[in-house]
Amino acid sequence: MELKEIQRLEGHTDRVWSLDWNPATGHAGIPLVFASCSGDKTVRIWEQNLSSGLWACKAVLEETHIRTVRSCAWSPSGKLLATASFDGTTAIWENVGGDFECVSTLEGHENEVKSVCWNASGTLLATCGRDKSVWIWEVLPGNEFECVSVLQGHAQDVKMVKWHPTEDILFSCSFDNSIKVWADEGDSEDWGCVQTLREPNNGHTSTVWALSFNASGDKMVSCSDDLTVKVWGTENVGIQSGGGFAPWRHICTLTGYHDRTVFSVHWSREGIFASGAADNAIRLFVDDNESQVGGPQYKLLLKKEQAHDMDVNFVQWSPGEKPMLASASDDGTIKVWELIS
């Protein structure tokens, strides 16, 4: 198996922190699209040409954020793009006949916003930041957004928020080394922390940078400054019928594969998860069917050294029939890869 570089995309004038594939593209003749965000304070929209297969920058979203744009996320319908910035705001953009317009600005965080994520149905948005809080916003008609909860609990800077792929359960990870699970426990939209995955229960021993779910939502992978990647699982996704939340438990820790901070992990629909790390490499891991019972259940499929010239900040598998991998780096470039045998 080989990770083959399809294209190297230049354009951003500072490090590229993150990107997000538009989930409504890549099928039925709709060309694949993704957005990227950077220390250059802009967001770029990239589209694949259907005949040549090559990527080009279709739009640059600028003059809105006044500091680094750290994270971007398309709504499930692909119609809206949320961008989170060190300037403390989250902007919502709409594609109006090829031009992207900022239709709303979410304020509230006290300082840098670090991550933004939509839930599966597109009815809720979550953000988090250095002020240690996680905010949940309700999506209302007319591009209105209302904050429904400000969740305190993390002891430090919150690096990423991610909704479960099917349930309205929110996960966050932090500089405080923990992963927190947040759920709405009653009818009154009373959001609270239902579980914390921390060091004593096989949790990470340094900053947790990212997490990702498998397609069925019963497994989660997390990555950290502690140089490990951990896999977690749950028996029953979501709230069980009798009430109460089914806890997540540690399945295995992948140690010795990374020798510098792991910034990003993403699980593909085919069951392969990719990692992006501070050693400029991309690694792919897969289920190890031959493992002994009780032993590690995941193995390294391949390591792409020098995938970029500098740290790999973000990796994400594409939607669509033939999954590709996109990576974003401190070197200011984005690369699109194909996994071939």
Binding site: R15, E112, T261, D331
Partner: protein, 150 residues
């Protein structure tokens, strides 16, 4: 700003004579020291070298693996400027070394009351990036770094 000095009686060491050299294509320990030892300590106008906050011995360079590690020692255990010093060293090295270099900066074990906390912050490039967008911090860093550019 601070009303009293954190360390009113620092020990001052002799500056080492450095021979002039042309910019090398490979790097050794001395070259990594040169850009940072002339940095000014944020509290006084002595350099980090004169205060023995940074010494040649505390710098590891591996040119083949593109790796530099700097271990620095604040003059007192409770130094509140420790993160700023670390940030200064980081910024100076980023501006002086090729982008292929991985730079690790840490406080010498046992030399400060909050070594682990400080080291964790200095390892967090996202927090460093955010700090570098703060004009107040940038001004302070530029003041500390100015003598090192002569």
């Amino acid at each position: 700003m601070v009303s009293g000095l954190i360390n009113a009686n620092p020990v001052i060491y002799e500056k080492k004579e450095r021979r002039a050299r042309t910019a090398p294509s490979t790097f050794h320990d001395e070259y990594a020291v040169e850009p940072i030892d002339q940095q000014e300590d944020p509290e006084y106008s002595y350099s980090l070298e004169q205060l023995k906050v940074v010494t040649e011995e505390a710098i590891e360079v591996d040119d083949k693996r593109n790796y530099v590690r700097v271990t620095f020692t604040p003059t007192v255990q409770h130094c509140s400027m420790v993160t700023i010093i670390g940030l200064c060293i980081h910024v100076k090295l980023m501006r002086s070394l090729p982008s292929r270099y991985k730079v690790d900066i840490r406080v010498a074990p046992g030399s400060h009351t909050t070594v682990d906390e400080v080291n964790k912050q200095l390892r967090d490039k996202e927090r460093i990036a955010a700090a570098m967008e703060n004009p107040n911090i940038v001004h302070l860093l530029d003041d500390c770094l100015a003598p090192s550019f002569d």
